[in-house]
């Protein structure tokens, strides 16, 4: 599994603690399982530190995390850089008034929601998820944040699957990842 150039010594341990599960959720998919990373406190801490080091001087006021694995990485980053954490959720989970954005799945569509008032015009936002595949989910999150007049500074994921070209789908929004997986 290749990693970002510059090769911070922490990246090798992070990459090797991610477990690949073949044929999940369906045949042909090699699922990148971050739960084994979470069982390695040093590697998990290094993962968070790498993001925090990148973003702490960038005046990020919001970290938005995509349900559910974005909830694992986003809050520790938000706490360390002094930002708000905003959960982006599946429909009907958020109890207050929401705005919604529909996005495509392989078959059909899904909807992502964000609370009205969570993000303000002028907020500088980071969007976090464990992994970027096709980029559909991140695109929906970008749209929600831009709809309320905030700026998406970057999208950040632990893992990228470059063959699925999610990076291209983000348009002009930069993407930062720790580990790139070609399988």
């Amino acid at each position: 599994m290749a990693s970002q150039g510059g090769q911070d010594p922490r990246l090798a341990k992070i990459a090797s603690s991610i477990r690949v599960i073949p044929d999940f959720p369906k045949p042909g998919i090699m699922f990148q399982d971050i739960t084994t990373l979470l069982l390695n406190p040093e590697a998990f801490k290094d993962t968070i530190d790498l993001f925090v080091e990148r973003y702490r001087e960038q005046n990020i006021s919001v970290v938005a995390g995509v349900e559910a694995r974005g909830f694992i990485f986003g809050p520790p980053i938000a706490l360390a850089i002094g930002a708000k954490f905003v959960p982006m959720r599946k429909p009907n989970k958020l109890p207050g008034e929401v705005i919604s954005e529909e996005y495509s799945l392989e078959y059909g569509t899904d909807t992502m929601e964000m609370h009205v008032g969570a993000v303000q015009p002028g907020d500088r936002a980071l969007i976090v998820d464990d992994l970027i595949a096709t980029g559909g989910t991140l695109c929906a999150a970008i749209k929600l944040i831009e709809r309320v007049g905030a700026e998406v500074v970057e999208c950040a994921c632990a893992i990228e699957l470059p063959e699925l070209k999610g990076r291209d789908r983000l348009g002009d929004k930069p993407l930062f990842v720790l580990v790139s997986s070609d399988i």
Binding site: R19, I21, F24, P25, F31, D33, T35, L38, L39, N40, P41, F44, K45, I48, E67, A68, R69, F71, I72, F73, P75, P76, A78, L79, G82, A83, K84, F85, V86, P87, R89, N92, K93, L94, P95, G96, H115, A118
Partner: protein
């Protein structure tokens, strides 16, 4: 035990005040305690995590188990703060590896809570985190999952809850720690 009483830690009032109550969600009669507003208050969110870390850091806890999805918001930061592993407890079909499953009661019907095989080892000292405890049904299922692998559940911890769980689920006599009680 609850912590938000007179004479309690001074950080608790801001934490309690930052939690929004949304009436009649998800259905009429339910006063839903919404922690998303707490997450918008950086100091109060940090204090929330710190209060749990201060409580658990010297208790030899090697596992923090968090219940999907709002337990994922608090659990990992606590795990990082005390040097423990984080174990997600999830709805069916989400965990990709070999799992064990426990049913629990909903108001109508049942649901399942799952954990990866191999996530916990016998004898590990664990805490279970969720944002809120109501009937205790989900926490009880979580306790059963961990005990099936002979882990020791030291305590259940929630941001919001009554210190004594009402209703049929008794948390198997495990201690329950909450930071703030439900607003009245």
């Amino acid at each position: 035990m609850g912590a938000a009483e007179n004479g309690g830690d001074p950080r608790l009032k801001a934490i309690s005040d930052a939690i929004r109550v949304v009436p009649h969600f998800p259905k009429p009669g339910i006063m839903f305690h919404d922690i998303t507003t707490l997450l918008l208050d950086h100091k109060a969110f940090k204090d929330t995590v710190d209060l749990f870390v201060e409580r658990y850091r010297d208790m030899g806890i090697s596992i923090v188990a968090g219940i999907e999805a709002r337990g994922f918001i608090f659990g990992p930061s606590i795990a990082l703060g005390i040097g423990a592993k984080f174990v997600p407890l999830r709805k069916p079909g989400k965990l990709p590896g070999k799992i064990i499953s426990e049913p629990y009661e909903l108001e109508y019907g049942t649901d399942q809570l799952e954990m990866h095989v191999g996530a916990v080892q016998p004898g590990e000292r664990t805490i279970i985190i969720d944002d809120l405890v109501a009937t205790g049904g989900t926490l009880s299922a979580a306790i059963r999952l961990l005990e099936r692998f002979q882990a020791e559940v030291v305590e259940c911890a929630c941001v919001v809850g009554s210190p004594v769980v009402q209703g049929e689920c008794e948390l198997k006599e495990k201690p329950l720690f909450v930071l703030v009680e439900p607003h009245h």
